[in-house]
């Protein structure tokens, strides 16, 4: 355990003493603030329009999600963050193993009394902390909303809590799990190459393929259509991003993470045998 933590700490130090993590934090706060303001303006305009039309009873079902700040602003923002993470996680994961090879420091790890499992888990954990911090950057917006926003009960017009924190935290959890999944894929790709840039690009390409995977489903025949639909990100994250806790995506993403960590371990071990 001490070995895993030592490696994780080393990875975090490297991320935080070089521009890597800071570029990501800056990029994420920049992009997410754009979307936050966009969603907030849409929310405000929708509310004004609906007041003119005579209240929420007249609104179409499509507009109902705009009734409160949680479903109207925070959750759309989190959905956008799924895509943003797809850009930044490969950027973070790419160096994990590739850089060690390039700098010839891998020899130190491989000749120290460490097991390959400890090396893989240590690196993964270090990356995970940075990704957790990246996702946490977007928690600024729910906090801003609680400080300055207000909500009223639909039935009694009494003031209620601004945000449904259970839903918000569920969405936050979904983002972290998604980031952890991308990181596992990226760690594996990084273990295959000496080139940081190649590792980043290949990881990004894989994630992009997974994201657009779902659009193939309508053209496929059964049973493939159901299989593809089940494997798509949208289907897996639909519930948590609506504030519905569901054990299935947890199991699904844990399996993906475990699979890629096992593959990484195999890849690291195989390097000993070439």
């Amino acid at each position: 355990m001490r070995n895993i933590l030592a490696i994780a700490k080393k990875e975090m130090t490297v991320y935080l003493t070089t521009p890597w993590a800071w570029i990501v934090f800056t990029f994420v706060s920049f992009v997410s603030s754009f979307f936050f303001i966009g969603y907030l303006v849409r929310f405000k305009e929708a509310h004004e329009q609906i007041r003119l039309q005579g209240g929420w009873a007249q609104a179409t079902p499509d507009e109902q999600f705009l009734r409160n700040l949680t479903d109207g602003v925070v959750m759309p923002l989190f959905s956008t963050m799924l895509v943003v993470l797809m850009f930044v996680v490969p950027f973070l994961s790419a160096r994990l193993f590739a850089e060690e090879r390039r700098q010839k420091t891998f020899e130190l790890l491989m000749t120290s009394p460490l097991t390959s499992v400890e090396i893989v888990l240590g690196k993964y954990l270090g990356g995970l902390v940075i990704i957790g911090a990246t996702v946490a950057v977007t928690m600024i917006y729910p906090l801003v909303l609680t400080m300055f926003g207000s909500s009223f009960s639909a039935t009694t017009s009494e003031k209620t809590a601004t945000l449904e924190w259970v839903t918000v935290m569920l969405g936050f959890g979904a983002l972290v799990v998604w980031g952890a999944t991308l990181l596992a894929i990226g760690t594996f790709v990084s273990s295959l190459t000496e080139s940081v840039i190649a590792a980043g690009l290949i990881t990004f390409a894989l994630c992009l393929m997974w994201l657009v995977f779902q659009s193939v489903a309508p053209n496929a025949d059964e049973p493939w259509r159901s299989v593809i639909d089940h494997l798509s990100i949208e289907a897996q994250l639909r519930n948590p991003l609506r504030g519905v806790f569901d054990l299935r995506p947890v199991v699904f993403f844990s399996s993906v993470i475990a699979t890629f960590l096992v593959l990484t371990h195999r890849s690291v071990e195989s390097r000993r045998w070439v």
Binding site: R2, N3, A6, I7, K9, K10, T13, V14, T17, T18, Q103, K104, T105, F106, E107, L108, L109, M110, T111, S112, P113, L114, T115, R272, W273, V274
Partner: protein
Amino acid sequence: MAMIEVERLTKKYRDRVAIDALSFSIEAGKIVGFLGPNGAGKSTTMKILTGFMPATEGKARVAGFDVFEKPLEAKRQIGYLPETPPLYPELTVRGFLKFVAEIKGVPRKQVKSEIARVAEGTGVTSELDRLNAALSKGYRQRVGIAQALIGNPKLLILDEPTEGLDPRQRNEVLQLIKGLAGQHTVVLSTHILAEVKTICEQVLIIHRGKIVADDTMAAISGGRESGLEEKFISLTAN
């Protein structure tokens, strides 16, 4: 007691044979020069002994532990300086040595004193708070040796420890290694014969993957000043 025992060790890279059925043993406490022309298989042998890569055939034991069957126990006995010092450029010297102490299992309470000890021994105390990336080549090499000394391993394997140093630094590093005799077994590879003459008690000459000489310094040089050069050149002629 033999610190290193190697039996019929062979390594093939696809069709190319890097080392061919090497057998030798090294006694504890000795300083051993591992000589050979470039590409003779010195680094390959060292990488196998340190567990960085496996042999195609044969056995190797370090302090009685088989490096293939008991890799963790064997690795705990070894401090290794690879050809390129494995320094993370982003870390400070202190941070780097601390990391190495942690992964080598130095008890938490002793980490600080251990860093102070190896830094003192290698003369990098004044550089402890600089980034590895900012070090000169001489200091990089010293930090590489400091890293190998952490945890006080029984066996030190140094792959060209004086490479790229100026004559003064070279001399300092050699004196440093000489001072380790007795408490550590040291295997150092080099192609600079003068260095071997200064500090080594036993000499192994390897050529095209085979051992061509394995004897004490005195026996190989025959007591003559230029004995080692003559022997080296005649043995590695073809």
